[in-house]
């Protein structure tokens, strides 16, 4: 942990007259293990997760095809003393991040299990739903600074709509997260029903880097390392942005 984060205010330093408000739009909570999902996941899909695991368009089951430069792409000091993976311990997240940086709101972006890239759409929908419930039970209900995202896989469009409607009724989510790499580019008309719901519900669309779209991330040709300079993480026109809906959620 850096010196700046830990250093207390000296006596001659006074708090600023106006507070710098911080909304962290990209905070990653992690499962301690997939067992965390059991209470939100029907037994049939618990068993599927255990036996078959993820079905993604990538050669490996338990790592990415571009092994990262640090374990789980995390800062070395982000591993909680309680033993889980980085981002899995709310108390440690508070102590290390939310409190010292005075984060007013943190928007959760769940990347575990690459859940919006699952090829088995019914399985994907089941774990998306479980993850959406888990965000509330494990995170936002325990710390009101944290805000949950509705994670859906847009290729199961009907399933995605149903999940958006379900979460919208709960009313605690502040954006809809879809995969940056689906079967087709995000502008294709097959995905428009999702955008129609997003607009009607005044929820922005979050598109976080990641996911497996079944194509080389460079377009062509296939790169050898994740640090290759040609890597374009996202279509520029489709970046996530905050909206009136976001702001109203923060103000409530």
């Amino acid at each position: 942990m850096s010196e700046v984060i830990d250093r207390p205010l000296r006596d001659d330093e006074k708090p600023a007259a106006t507070r710098l408000r911080i909304v962290d739009c990209d905070v990653h909570p992690s499962l301690r293990s997939t067992d965390d999902l059991n209470e939100f996941l029907p037994r049939r899909w618990q068993q599927h997760l255990k036996e078959y695991g993820s079905h993604l368009r990538t050669p490996y089951l338990f790592t990415t095809p571009y092994p990262r430069s640090s374990p789980l792409i995390a800062r070395r000091d982000a591993w909680p003393p309680t033993g889980g993976p980085p981002g899995s311990d709310l108390d440690f997240m508070r102590k290390q991040h939310l409190d010292p940086l005075d984060v007013e709101f943190g928007i959760l972006q769940v990347l575990d299990l690459f859940i919006f890239s699952q090829q088995n759409l019914e399985f994907g929908a089941a774990i998306q739903r479980a993850i959406n419930d888990w965000q509330l039970a494990f995170w936002t209900h325990r710390d009101p600074r944290l805000k949950a995202s509705i994670l859906v896989g847009q290729d199961g469009t009907d399933l995605a709509i149903a999940e958006i409607e379900r979460c919208a009724k709960i009313g605690e989510y502040i954006q809809i997260n879809v995969s940056p790499r689906a079967n087709e580019p995000l502008g294709r008309r097959r995905y428009w029903p999702i955008y129609e719901r997003a607009q009607a519900l005044d929820l922005p669309l979050g598109i976080h880097v990641g996911g497996y779209g079944g194509h080389a991330p460079t377009g062509r040709p296939i790169m050898s390392r994740s640090t290759s300079p040609t890597r374009t993480p996202l279509p520029r026109s489709l970046r996530a942005s905050s909206s009136r809906a976001c702001r109203s959620a923060f103000q409530s």
Binding site: Y52, H55, P59, Y66, P67, G214, S224
Partner: protein, 353 residues
């Protein structure tokens, strides 16, 4: 060991890069796999917990990967299923790494591990050389490294790689394969570079497993039509865990289209089916045949070469129940050939001593 019976396809399991392979990695990659936690390169094709990946009675009680324990493999493949010799084919992600340097070192480590912890401990075992086909020059280095060790009897590649296997940049590998009498063993599995089906991405595991037959068909055509066997007539190619009973229809159609449009590939001077019978071999689990003896006989007859069939149990993959790994209703003459004569002819480096 009363009867000679050579099992051409069994699968030992790599536990992980930071465990099983660590002692065999170069210093650079030893440091890298630890500091970057590079591990878990189990292939999407074979989730260890998936029923197909390990029959229940061949799974270690401690939950380790099926095929990871030498004593269990010996008990299953030799004592229970009756093999006298067996060829180890490692299916781990080294062949699928994008980074060719990493792939080459992981492949080398796998081969060193197989030599030290499997081949050295049981003289009945043989192995395929795992090679980084991502970089044919590095694959060649690895083949040269093993060439003096006759316990390595073939070269293992996945059915679905970055490009079709007939492409000319792979030919130096085949030149060496022919020179050292190492057949090219194409095993089911994919690097997941493209959709595993030619029509798109399937949703389900078994859908994927089923459509792998398409990949084998594409590889056969690629190797023939690109002219590989004109250049390397003694090269043998073994289709492993490909299924067998789709061959007749495929061979008929390959012949028919070749007859019609062979002007496009004038260097292919014989019917594809005839090249398949001479240069290709196929392991017999899974076989995928109807349950009656007459149909099985017809399929064998239609394939048209008793030399093509190689006995394999595919241990520990769950292809059958019970203790008999030989598909039912096979003619007796086939059984005798596929267990001994054909493997010895296909894998010339394989001596029984």
């Amino acid at each position: 060991m009363a009867v000679t019976r050579i099992d051409c396809d069994i699968h030992p399991a790599v536990g992980g890069t930071r465990t099983t392979l660590l002692p065999y990695l170069s210093d650079h990659w030893k440091e890298q796999v630890v500091s970057r936690a590079i591990d878990g390169l189990d292939l999407t094709s074979y989730p260890p917990s998936m029923p197909l990946s390990g029959r229940a009675d061949w799974r270690p009680a401690n939950g380790a990967r099926p095929g990871s324990d030498l004593a269990m493999v010996q008990k299953g493949a030799f004592d229970q299923l009756g093999a006298s010799h067996a060829i180890l084919n490692v299916l781990y992600g080294a062949q699928a790494v994008f980074d060719a340097y990493m792939a080459a070192d992981f492949c080398k480590a796998i081969n060193d591990w197989i030599a030290a912890e499997w081949l050295a401990r049981d003289s009945r075992l043989r192995a395929s050389i795992v090679v980084p086909m991502q970089a044919p020059d590095l694959a060649i280095e690895e083949i040269e490294r093993r060439a003096a060790d006759n316990r390595f009897v073939s070269i293992l590649v996945l059915a679905q790689g970055e490009t079709l296997l007939g492409r000319r940049h792979f030919w130096p590998v085949y030149q060496l394969a022919e020179k050292y009498k190492l057949p090219l063993a194409i095993h089911a599995g994919t690097q997941y570079r493209q959709a595993p089906s030619s029509a798109g991405w399937p949703s389900h595991r078994y859908e994927y497993y089923f459509v792998e037959a398409q990949a084998f068909q594409a590889q056969i055509l690629s190797l023939i039509y690109e002219g590989v066997f004109g250049k390397y007539p003694d090269l043998k190619v073994v289709l492993m865990e490909s299924g067998v009973s789709w061959l007749p229809a495929f061979m008929w159609r390959a012949n028919k289209t070749w007859r019609g449009v062979r002007v496009e590939v004038p260097w292919v001077e014989r019917e594809p089916a005839s090249i398949i019978r001479d240069n290709f071999r196929v392991t017999m689990q899974p076989f995928d045949a109807p349950s009656d003896a007459k149909s099985v006989e017809e399929i064998i007859d239609q394939i048209g070469s008793e030399k093509m069939f190689l006995f394999a149990s595919d241990y520990p993959h769950w292809q059958f129940d019970g203790d008999d790994p030989i598909p039912p209703n096979l003619p007796k003459s086939i059984i005798a050939k596929m267990c001994v004569d054909n493997p010895l002819e296909t894998f010339p480096r394989l001596s029984l001593n």
